[in-house]
Symmetry: none
Subunit: 189 residues, 4 copies
DNA sequence: TATGAATGAGCCTTCATTCAT
DNA sequence: AATGAATGAAGGCTCATTCAT
């Protein structure tokens, strides 16, 4: 017996997102999503062909605006370096907060199923590239700039720190951002 | 006779460790361990009550020497700060390399089962505390030292970066350490 | 208005029939029929209470004209026996061809659902009876006529062979008919 | 809690075979087999990687002795043709009876999953080839021998009739064989 | 009446754990 | 103590059917 539910897709996404955020990809099963959203399992599959695709859709959507924001930051050519990095960190942090940490699988450990997924890796590479471009556009202080691959390493470090810091101390937004800005900016001329 | 038992246990640990390192906690199942070690599944359970406990035992053992090393570093009171940090990073990195990244679950995403586990968290806190003590023992540069919780944040960052850097570029040992030392030491007076 | 409805029903039948013929009863699902016919799933159920009933309706209709043809053959009393059998086989084969093998479930393996169905079995018995009557009306050669139940057995054999031969070599119409006529007529005096 | 059951594999096969025979491949699910055999579902998978493989194993095994019998008949070169065919039919019928009709999927309608399966088709072709060789070794009467592909068509017909006749009148063994022998032998010189 | 989204029982398969030998 | 077969709960997904619009 079908229930009448408005904005079903949004409902599914919202419920699934909450669960994915709280329990991670593997801990969440389709029945949980069904229960949480009040939508039958079969219905979920009317909207998404598989659990993975549902996750990917949520993930991709949640990063779209961040990508736009990164492009915008990329285009800021006259801003002082440290300002730029601050903007980068703040943006990433706040977007991470908005999507409640979704994306934690990008660096570090991701479920096998996702790690193998083309779209997942494409999204991840997209993110890394966009951030790296910004990192590359500012000068690093000499001691660092002698290192091989500084830009890549800094990019990974920055993303990792933002994603994780948010997860570890989600309630300390300002402190987190503050620390990250000061910390990362030590590398920037 | 106890020799044989010891050997068996060692065998289990060795095989399981290799698998856990290569495939991660969730991707490894007890049959894989049984096959790799040549020891029956039931026997595994004679030595370890559960998969989790087997993992935990391996994890704990693999960090014991690191803990000793950390204590040793802790006791170095006359060494210059940056030297100390360098030693800290090098030690942690090399130990991480020795155990091939085991411990990647400490920061970032860990399987639900582990995250809930008391021993896992206790081990993690032990590590964090020991590192934090070392971090605390050196002076941070002013811009950073104004941040709340600098020591905790630096500790987490440092561990996270070492663990992840090793995973992302396992073949670039020197570059990795170099970068990490230069990067972290920017925070140190 | 009734025109439109009739068209709809015809459309459903035509689409469903094509699918049932190509993929068989079980491989076809209601969504496929809906897609192929351009008619909503719910509408299909306005016309047919179930997938089975839809199939049955198509099946029954597709055999109506064959039944008439069989009656006609039955009424040919002056025709030589082998001529009669030839006509029987040719008619059955060509009708089988026209409905593209629909009815393959009559002999041999039918989906559980159909096998249990009263209408299905009634249709099947109708067919068997009509053919048996024709078979009974001609004399079999002595060696065969000593067998118990020759008429039934010959009837089943004949139907089975026609249905299957068409399926196995659908493009060899003439060869198939030829073989069947020669083969079956060996039994006829 | 494991039960102690002797001859587990035989038990599985026997139960599964009975079910497959009575209900067909698709109607049988792993839980039914589990229940009927008193063996847990997971255990079934210790013996067979999938439902299809379980079925294929049963099918293949059940035809092995028939294949040997066919080879034996093939090697009878001095026996009169009609005797040979009689032997062929009797053997096939009795073996069909022994395995209770398993193999009904060879001609006619088989479940999609099996139809696609390489082993299934290989087994089927093996059977067809072996029977065709025997059929080819005897002379057909003139009227038939003019037909294209007589041997193939006779082979298919014979197998089809045996398999189906058994299914339709399982209790009339003698009548069935009698009829089949007389019927088919009409084609043989 | 036509629509097609919603339903949920049911299927195949996996895997940590148990226990008779 | 060592074995590995046996267990069964649980998960992803399908599809005939229903029903609010």
């Amino acid at each position: 017996m079908p229930k009448i539910i408005k904005d079903l897709e949004k409902n599914i996404k919202k419920s699934a997102m909450e669960l994915f955020i709280n329990y991670g990809y593997e801990q969440v099963d389709m029945k949980m999503i069904s229960k949480k959203s009040g939508i039958a399992v079969g219905t979920l599959y009317n909207y998404y062909k598989s659990k993975k695709l549902l996750y990917m859709d949520i993930l991709e959507e949640s990063w779209q605006s961040t990508f736009l924001n990164l492009d915008e930051i990329s285009s800021l050519t006259t801003i002082p370096s440290k300002e730029k990095i601050k903007k980068l960190i703040t943006t990433l942090y706040e977007d991470t907060e908005t999507r409640n940490g979704l994306g934690k699988y990008f660096l570090g450990n991701s479920p096998f199923e996702l790690n193998e997924d083309e779209n997942f890796n494409s999204l991840k590479n997209n993110l890394l590239t966009k951030v790296k471009n910004i990192i590359s556009s500012v000068s690093k202080i000499e001691t660092l700039s002698k290192c091989n691959n500084v830009d890549v390493m800094l990019t990974e470090s920055l993303l990792l720190l933002i994603l994780t810091t948010f997860q570890l101390h989600p309630e300390n937004k300002n402190d987190n951002i503050n620390f990250l800005v000061e910390f990362i900016n030590l590398s920037i001329k």
